[in-house]
Subunit: 458 residues, 4 copies
């Protein structure tokens, strides 16, 4: 899980502060580290600043606002902890014989380990444990080629998911894998071009959405203008991630031409048809993930919508230590029902998904303590039963509640009076893309190439 | 603006972590500093920890979880900046000849300066510039009396608003001024009693709401149990703050017996009757302040509700420097409309209030850029035209948009197609308390005792 | 143990950076906290910055260099640890009815507790546990008098040691107790007057030593110039601290007219006469405290001086955790003999004093391991057998090696081949002041007024 | 300028705290950064902690004391500032195909750039700008060989100065270049072997000096014991650095069998013969660099030695900002003469060297202001006229006072009444090694191979 952003301005204005703001808008895609890389206009060397934590902690806005660079890329991510943490923070940068390169990556390269072993046997020294460093080493081992050719050559050897913002010298390059797993958009404001994981990051800098970067496309932006080339790999079909619409992307983003907000409302609407709850006095959403689907559910069903569960708006901004007392209080720290609304009532509670099931169990218990007569759970996506190998950090099968339990057992475990999921067909039709363009692997187990990681020929 | 919390456990369990959590639930009442005071069981001296910033930054949860104290109070506040900042952070504590005392205060004592001058002429040295320190000095100048008697004597000399959590040695005392300006509730969980500015802070620690502390009441909690005494001052009428319901309190709190959520929905419902907008395609709220009233408005009017404006959920957690670029981008940093929802539509946008008018102006401009056909503003409270002397840090009259401009000029300034406010009578009836119990001074200019600060006789 | 510094410039130049530098030169007098107070020229309120640690950590030089104040005082001290630490950092400041006051104090007021109890019974609230706060409260209880009169009235009630730098508004006041326990000097550079605990702090700011502040003298410096008044207390004799010359003051300071360096050389010279060591091959000093006396000893005895023990010049700058391994290595962390110099040699090692005896024991053991044939210890002061009540934080009698053990037992304990101390008469004659002007209480047990703390009449 | 330290304990005791202490004793060799690397006993991966600043700031002693590792190396250095600073902090570590390697390096590899360009053309990506990284990449490009063979092969390609502490897995390796530029010693305490830049670092951990690592020697220490192998490069002569004795090494160290303290005393003694100052009343040293030579000078000349200039013992521990005021005060911040000693006197001031000349100029001016009649400067080494390419960060020729000015002009510039240097022959004979074993390049300009950097064949 990560977000990438890049900017290039041909009239020489500095873009570093825009990259900072773009990352700020993509903060929901990764909250453990952030970094920005840029090319110092004179020296030709790539510079970067990186840090752990939220964007405003990891990076120094004032310092960035005082620097000049007309091209830059940035990255937010969930990163592994530990002493070597900072080495794994993106962008990954290097100065090699053909110049400087910096890479910000969202996704997961499934044949990275095979490539790494091959390169190490030829003398390469890896600094990080990220799959992304593979790209740079593949380029360095083609150091007789111009950097862009070396990048294309590197990308054609990769399997899996990658939406990239790359700096080659001060050229900005955007690339999206041939299967289109992760989103990537192109934007523009006057003389400045932008690439971003989601369109909401274009909005924050006042840019317009030009179009999605196409699966298999490389877009190169420099003083000469903008051009598009192809990664020479043929994809049998597309795999646009359904989970971006269900949960991951921001509702104000447009992904592959579809409004995330409208998809979520449609998910709720279709759920009300396939899993109605006519006896409910109130329809509410588990905040904030279930809110939009709940509005859609209530609207299509003609039932009363209430924001009956309040989320402490400081949760997430602050870290509460999981002491014994805090564990005993559980979900109360984050969520609180409006007692007068739920007491004596029958509720339909809509959420986007169930992962471990513990949050649902505790929330239902809390609602019942506040006097609810009956609690029905409606999930606006199919059960998540399989891990994701393409960049979303799902749990392993043993931890996924829906992979271990049948739905009725799960209903009993979480303590709901009824529990219903949306069907895969309803999910796919809600998104509105051709079914063969959508990746539903975490629901269906249908992976690219049957899930096989083929290694690489060099 | 501030929040107070206190806890006393007679079976010897430590309450410090509960006070930390209580403050966390009251974070919306003050985000600039936080402090906790407790009585070390052996020494008899009062200890405190204080810091600037949000609760989790100002205070060290782990340190507190490792200490033992069976009584403690805490405070969050908006505090003045500057080098002497920390001296003004509550609780205000002192060790004086009759023992130790700590005071956490929400409100504003209107005759504090007169009392202070009198005490200084008698040799008192004030350490802070807070009105609250007055209470401790009044007690010290009655040092021949037992501490509780000295406290009662101090309180009877005060004018204005005070909801207090006090430690006298390790006794916990709650006190609310005779006019009842600010809320204060009593809660209980097994052997532990709590006092809090709002009931949502009882919920987070798993306590039940016992009742409101009554105007003019002092509640004393110690090993012997709980008792109630009166502040010997007669109030001609009550002044329960209307703005708590409109904006300040959390929607999941119950203030003076009334659910804040339900009051806000009623405000929206009554607004739809007095200021309908039948041509609107969509009713939406300015997030997060206008959301509940918007749901009420749409429901009563039978119109379509959409969460059409997305608030970046990291705003507030992070501080964006107001650089030139950021000012140019304006409200985009925080809010983003769903373009597909607003393009070509006529919108009714509900908010709780207008202060300076700049946010409204920028938001309307942004909605229009995304293609809205018409934008109508509906405000779920009357125009704020007067400053508050009772603890809410309203702006001065020159800054209050509604104090300077008539409504039509204001409408033109913010760029709305129409602008309507709720009437004072609708506000009062929405709250549901007797009209003579509600303070509407910021709307009407009707202050306690005509606004006069009478000084004090010692 | 503390150091004070003050500056007043009548032509309006800011003196804050000079106060910072003055404290830096007095760092040896207190390394646990530092603070500076000044009067903002317009407001009349006293401001202060304070912090824990060395001057450069506790205070922000750049911030101070950017402020303007034409009068200021500062303080370095050894302060008690614990949560209330910062409240005890000097200068102690207050804004009271007659204006603002700030006090920096070196010494110890022996009747402070009696005064404090009296004042608390009259309503005073003390914020710190320092004896210094007593002075401010005494002033506030005379608030009908002009501030300078109130200060004189406060000082006449005090017993014990105080060398003060005080700000009354923006007047700079220096005061030294009638017994002259602690040093205090007056300096000048062009239009700027300075007061300082030691003359080395005048040197650092380029000022000349004008004269010592006399015992019982108050010097007042303001726009009108400089004047001297008397504390109305008659001292039967003077008590200038001998230990300042032996150990505490810097060698480049001049205290009560005597060069500390020259006194220390004379101590060594007289020691070589009373306790010769004619068989020694080398005379060396325990660095850095014994170096100057060792040069004096070797010079007068006509013996060879060598800097045979090296002190790690980073010790003190860095804090080494006292882990098990570090304790096992002992004094090796700090001191290292030059092996080639000591192997097979007979050494006379000169030090200024022995406190616990553990350092001496470990150093002797280390020298022997490096092959020394014999090790003789010579101490350039009498045995310390009594606690100091006048501002030097000696150990209690149980910890003072020389209070518990006779000299021969102590010799055996530290492992020396011989051990000799200087006599009190030699100490007194080395200083060169009249014997009746010198305090030797820590050597002789002869305290002011027989050590009695007389309380106070108000 | 740097210091290295390594430890290996075969009985399994953790050596991390000893490495910390060893670095602490070598702090004078580098104060801008510090790092430690060790091999986690299970995983086989190399770990490291690094930081900017003094050892106690850069590294966490407590954290290290809590870890277990039976082999480790450490490094202190002067490092380039800037955002990429931390990447250049040693030890340089890598996990490559044949295992893990960590290198701590003192010296300067003169053909590093040539090797780097060659390796980059073969696909290598360098992470730092240090010459040291070259060693690791040379090893990785021999990844078919066992690590020790790859290291030997790498070292034989290097020109210039390197004293190394290396970890190969958990084997400890020490290596010194064939010319012996920088010192390196082997020590032992019971079952633990140590390598260190100077013997003073053996003393601090209680180890004995076994012997110097010989020029061209590689010492390998592992569970099997200790063995010595040769770097297959023939050196025409040795180049042991004279400046280590003059200034750089600690006086309590023994370098290539010679006591640094005794060399410095001899330098002073010979200087008194070649450049006597019979009219001086006092001989003193510029603290701390000139102290030992001054004792030697005074002793041989039979003149009076005084520690007449006091160095603030907190200088270096604290950073004073170079504000306008501080620049005006100049060297006063650091040094202060004893006025009573210098007033009216003729002084001989001994120092180890003159670099820019500004400190000397300011010190002389300060001594004259304190009343000195005449000031003679005596320098206990020859004029530094040439840059060092072997690891000491001398200034460029334009900045070296003695490279620009003849001695009489320099005397006039610094304001001395006379100025004399030691001759190169006296320097060499004071050290006591064969003249052909000593590098005097910074004095004479005679570099290895005529200063030529020959590149490398791979």
């Amino acid at each position: 899980m990560a977000g990438v952003f890049g900017a290039f301005c041909k009239n020489g204005h500095s873009v570093l502060e825009d990259v900072y703001l773009g990352l700020y808008a993509l903060q929901h895609r990764g909250q453990e580290s952030a970094g920005i890389a840029w090319n110092s206009n004179e020296g030709g060397e790539v510079n970067s600043v990186k840090g752990m934590g939220l964007v405003h902690i990891a990076l120094d806005q004032k310092y960035l606002a005082g620097l000049r660079a007309n091209s830059a890329i940035g990255h937010v991510r969930y990163s592994a902890a530990g002493p070597s943490g900072l080495a794994n923070v993106h962008p990954i940068t290097a100065n090699y014989s053909m110049g400087s390169v910096a890479v910000a990556h969202n996704g997961n390269i499934t044949n990275a380990m095979g490539i790494r072993h091959m390169l190490e046997s030829r003398g390469a020294i890896f600094q990080s444990t990220t799959d992304t460093e593979t790209i740079i080493h593949l380029m360095a081992h083609q150091s007789h080629k111009p950097p862009l050719d070396a990048l294309v050559d590197a990308l054609r050897r990769l399997k899996g998911a990658y939406s990239l913002a790359v700096l080659l010298g001060n050229r900005l390059v955007a690339a999206r894998d041939p299967w289109g797993f992760r989103p990537l958009v192109l934007g523009r404001r006057e003389d400045t071009f932008y690439v971003a994981s989601e369109s909401c990051a274009l909005d924050i800098v006042g840019a317009s959405l030009v179009r999605d970067v196409k699966p298999g496309e490389i877009i190169v932006i420099d003083e000469a203008g903008i051009k598009s080339i192809r990664i020479p790999v043929e994809a049998s079909r597309l795999y646009s991630c359904a989970f971006e619409y269900v949960y991951f992307a921001r509702p104000d983003s447009v992904v592959d031409g579809k409004s995330v907000y409208e998809v979520r409302k449609t998910l709720g609407c279709k759920l009300s048809a396939s899993a109605p709850c006519p006896t409910a006095d109130i329809v509410t959403g588990m905040p904030d993930s279930g809110t939009i689907a709940a509005i859609g559910y209530a609207g299509c069903a003609g039932q009363r919508y209430e924001a009956a569960i309040v989320r402490n708006r400081f949760v997430g901004r602050t870290f509460i230590q999981p002491t014994q007392r805090v564990r005993a209080l559980g979900v109360k720290i984050k969520l609180n029902p409006i007692k007068k609304l739920v007491a004596g009532k029958e509720l339909a509670v809509v959420d986007d998904s169930i992962v471990r099931g513990t949050t649902a169990e505790r929330a239902i218990s809390m609602i019942r303590q506040d006097g609810a007569a009956r609690v029905h759970i409606r999930i606006a996506s199919p059960p998540v039963r399989f891990p994701c190998y393409y960049g979303i950090d799902m749990l392993s099968c043993e931890e996924l509640a829906a992979a271990k339990l049948d739905i009725d057992t799960l209903r009993a475990t979480v303590g709901a009076d009824s529990l219903h999921y949306l069907g895969i067909e309803d999910l796919v039709s809600s998104i509105g893309l051709p079914p063969s363009d959508i990746c539903t692997a975490c629901f269906s187990g249908e992976y690219l190439d049957g899930g096989e990681d083929n290694g690489v020929d060099l």
